[in-house]
């Protein structure tokens, strides 16, 4: 199929768009074992980055948000797809995990933010409905994916 850019072209495009938000290409990026780009951003730069990508690329396909508890941070990885996959990674302080919601830019993010809120206790400012998604209403304990849960 002609007209589909190759992976390097996509990676270069993404890096160029985000270059003024990161410290420069290559500084805070790495790749997965399959060569997909993972770009680290400061948490406050996430919204402008996504906004910038949407302006240039159009409607973005967000696959999901992976949250992981890595004391003393909580890492959030936003996995996008535009002909090829790429990921934006942010780190939030563990005792105050707050980040702006993307739900007005990418409506498809609604359920994924709810799930991360459920599982890790991250607060997404601006999300209209952060009710529990997967956990029962009577859940009393800490968010399940937090490491303090570990017993042994």
């Amino acid at each position: 199929m002609s007209g589909i850019p190759n992976r390097d072209a996509i990676n270069t495009l993404v890096l160029r768009l985000l270059s003024n938000l990161t410290a420069g290409p290559g500084a805070f990026t790495h790749t997965t074992t399959d060569g997909e780009l993972v770009i680290q951003l400061p948490a406050h730069a996430l919204r402008p980055a996504v906004s910038c990508l949407i302006d240039e690329i159009g409607i973005l396909h967000l696959t999901t948000i992976t949250g992981e508890d890595l004391p003393p941070h909580i890492a959030l990885r936003y996995h996008f797809w535009h002909h090829y996959g790429f990921t934006l990674e942010i780190e939030l302080p563990r005792d105050r995990p707050v980040v702006a919601s993307l739900v007005d830019l990418v409506p498809g993010v609604a359920l994924y933010e709810r799930e991360v809120h459920d599982m890790l206790g991250v607060l997404f400012e601006g999300h209209p409905d952060l009710r529990p998604l997967l956990l029962p209403d009577e859940w009393q304990g800490p968010p399940p994916l937090r490491k303090e849960d570990t017993h042994g």
């Binding site: 997965t32 074992t33 399959d34 409607i59 967000l62 696959t63 999901t64 992981e68 409506p107 956990l135």
Partner: protein, 360 residues
């Protein structure tokens, strides 16, 4: 009639799995709806962190009943990527064969459920009778009708004998005939069209903004199919069409799924015909070097996504699963508005929910 709330679920004849919808109706008109899921949440992502990579294989096959094989395949690809293994070509063909058979099985099952939910039991009986052919083929290949346990990290555990190949070839011919007949019936059955045309419409823009995937997206005109867009063996060597429609209603989704089934039958034949000889697995180490791997597959319902992070031990540090039913559930928020109660069953059938997948 006053405003009332009709509960659909968690138990309802319409649903095969528990999920709760509170539908606000006035008379026969639906005005709003809310959804509560999580009734079959088993905490699988958390469980994965406490098991070895090989134990997780058996756990992850049980995320879903209908797409169990594609979960296992996607997970294995992720781990194999972390290990830097190259899976033998024959193994990828065998995995793809079962993936396509699973797709056929899923779509036939879905057609039966749609027909049953709109009162056309006859098509339900025909579709599920033809589904038996697929189940017999899968049983011949793996020993299990629905759950296969045929994957291992590094390849597959069981090969296909020449005799099995002959038998399956004959069954595929029969399947082709039956599915074509079903497709013709569905295309011409006016009462089916009367219930599904114009119902549950999603525009292309809505599909893209809500990140909907799979046959639902393709029925609204979005040309995505991970088998073609992220080509890995054997799909990079196989010819197949990606079926799209533009109407974006339940009728279009029906056509997309049925035509996809025929494409899958064709793919199965091609896989059997062009399968190379060779080993079916390479050995894999227990300890996985640190790294991150992302693997995606085109499950019967759409894009299945796995993210696996390894910290160098024999247990994964994080396994994240995104199943295709989640964006479908989100799209229901758009579809369950300004419709009648009778349309609820059509819409819920049309999105092909797999709640066990969504809840994990």
């Amino acid at each position: 009639m006053a405003r009332t709330i009709v509960p659909i679920g968690p138990q309802h004849p319409l649903l095969k799995e528990p999920i709760a919808f509170q539908i606000v109706v006035e008379g026969e008109q639906v005005t709003d709806s809310t959804m509560r899921m999580g009734y079959v949440h088993r905490g699988i992502e958390r469980l994965c962190q406490e098991r070895t990579y090989i134990q997780n294989l058996y756990l992850l096959e049980r995320v879903c009943g209908i797409c169990s094989h594609v979960h296992a395949v996607t997970y294995c690809r992720g781990v194999e990527s972390l290990l830097g293994l190259e899976v033998p070509l024959r193994a990828t063909y065998l995995r793809a064969l079962l993936c396509e058979l699973e797709r056929i099985h899923s779509h036939l099952l879905w057609l039966g459920m749609l027909a049953r939910n709109i009162g056309l039991d006859t098509i339900f009986m025909y579709a599920w009778r033809d589904r038996e052919i697929v189940l017999d083929i899968m049983e011949a290949l793996s020993g299990g009708r629905v759950s296969h346990a045929i994957n291992t990290i590094g390849g597959v555990r069981q090969d296909i004998t020449p005799m099995q190949r002959e038998v399956i070839w004959g069954q595929l011919d029969k399947l082709d005939q039956q599915v074509s007949r079903l497709l013709r019936v569905v295309e011409h059955e006016r009462s089916l069209q009367a219930r599904t045309r114009g119902v549950g419409h999603l525009s292309l823009e809505q599909v893209r903004r809500y990140c909907v995937v799979g046959p639902i997206a393709r029925a609204s005109g979005l040309d995505v199919d991970l088998r073609r867009d992220e080509p890995r063996p054997p799909y990079d060597r196989l010819n197949f069409d990606v079926v799209t429609h533009t109407a974006g209603d339940v009728w279009a989704r029906t056509l997309v799924r049925m035509q996809e089934t025929l494409v899958s039958v064709q793919l199965c034949r091609e896989i059997l015909r062009t399968m190379p000889d060779g080993p079916i697995a390479v050995s894999a180490r227990r300890r996985v070097p640190p790294g991150e791997a992302i693997s995606r597959s085109e499950a019967p319902r759409g894009e299945l996504f796995y993210y696996i992070r390894s910290d160098g031990s024999d247990r994964p540090a994080r396994v994240k699963i995104r199943t295709p039913t989640l964006p479908s559930l989100l799209s229901l928020q758009i579809q369950l508005k300004a419709i009648t109660i009778a349309d609820i069953s059509v819409i819920l059938s049309g999105v092909d929910l797999c709640i066990a997948c969504a809840d994990r």
